[in-house]
């Protein structure tokens, strides 16, 4: 799509804590454009002395929601942008953003499925936009989400994922907790590996349309595992996040 990518001033209209170090910012945009699930916005902070810092944040909300977007931001240790967004910003503040950006790591209902979504930590964010889009569009494409978190309390969108799973047809959600598990947990309790991937993808057949998002090592483990299981590379799209381990 040919259009200039312009910076605009968004206003923070809501802030929602998701976990201990993750918040969702709702931004009202004067020049809102419909996005594709999986796309991101660039956020630019400027200091009075002219110093600028810029980061990309995935859109968490569905494109069906007009005029505003949600960005979910994980506060990184020493993250000069994420710590400002999560610790300093309050409702009513303004923020310089541009987007929506990206055309590779996107999914729209028309692309169909079956759909396999694999998230490590805050890598869930663009995949959540896909799940919200799927629900908003009333789609029933077979979808499985495998979501790796350190602990149960680190799961972003925990309640909404359960609501979506219960309310929609054809969606199944699998959690794995890599550090500690809640009492009585009977699901996965380790880092993702090929046997886990095999169990999760089996009902989707050999060529699920696959989106993997997370830290680099997580993405490589998942992509290599799926390649071993015979999923064609052309069916796998990946997006790497920063340096945090799930």
């Amino acid at each position: 799509m040919k259009r200039p990518l312009e910076w605009q001033i968004a206003t923070v209209s809501a802030i929602k804590p998701e976990t201990a170090n993750v918040k969702t910012l709702t931004l009202t945009l004067p020049a809102w454009l419909p996005h594709r699930a999986g796309q991101h916005y660039d956020v630019r902070l400027s200091a009075p002395d002219g110093y600028q810092a810029q980061r990309s944040y995935s859109i968490a909300s569905a494109p069906e929601r007009m005029g505003e977007i949600d960005l979910t931001v994980e506060r990184l240790e020493d993250g000069e942008v994420s710590s400002y967004l999560d610790d300093v910003l309050v409702v009513g503040d303004q923020l310089e953003v541009r987007g929506p950006i990206g055309g590779y790591f996107v999914w729209e209902v028309a692309q169909g499925g079956p759909l396999l979504l694999i998230a490590g930590g805050s890598g869930i964010v663009p995949l959540m936009a896909m799940l919200r889009h799927r629900a908003a569009a009333g789609a029933s494409v077979s979808t499985r989400l495998l979501y790796s978190s350190r602990t149960h309390t680190d799961v972003i969108y925990r309640d909404e994922l359960e609501t979506l799973r219960a309310a929609s047809t054809g969606l199944e959600v699998f959690h794995t907790f890599t550090r500690t598990q809640p009492a009585g947990w009977r699901g996965y309790a380790r880092r993702i590996d090929t046997p886990m991937l095999q169990e999760v993808i089996q009902p989707l057949g050999p060529t699920p349309l696959t989106y993997i998002c997370g830290p680099t090592l997580f993405v490589e483990t998942a992509a290599n595992g799926l390649a071993q299981l015979g999923v064609p590379a052309s069916q796998i799209r990946t997006e790497r996040f920063g340096p945090t381990a799930p």
Binding site: K2, L5, H40, S56
Partner: protein, 96 residues
């Protein structure tokens, strides 16, 4: 691998992370565009290139052979793009 390459690896992103900059330069979305590595011949969407962004410039490497495909350096008044490592970049013609 030494500590430095471990750190570079841990901080590595991918072509999606430079989508905004590329769109600023070219005026179109490029991350879905197939790109052929001049070193090994692998073809993949620009979004799949490995991106090293924690330096004064950005280096994009082939995800198959890890050779340099593109380098991008921003200065106060210009953007330099060096793409010797790309044999081609395929841009879809949109009729609209």
């Amino acid at each position: 691998m030494d500590d430095k390459s471990d750190l570079n690896r841990a901080l590595m992103l991918d072509g999606n992370a430079v989508a905004g900059l590329l769109q600023e330069v070219f005026g179109i979305e490029l991350t879905a565009s197939p790109t052929k590595c001049a070193h090994c011949g692998a073809v993949g969407a620009l979004g799949t290139l490995l991106a090293f962004t924690h330096a004064p410039g950005i280096v994009l490497r082939c995800s198959a052979c890890e050779q340099v495909v593109m380098r991008i350096v921003e200065t106060a008044d210009a953007i330099y793009l060096e793409a010797r490592g790309a044999a081609y970049l395929r841009l879809e013609r949109h009729t609209s």
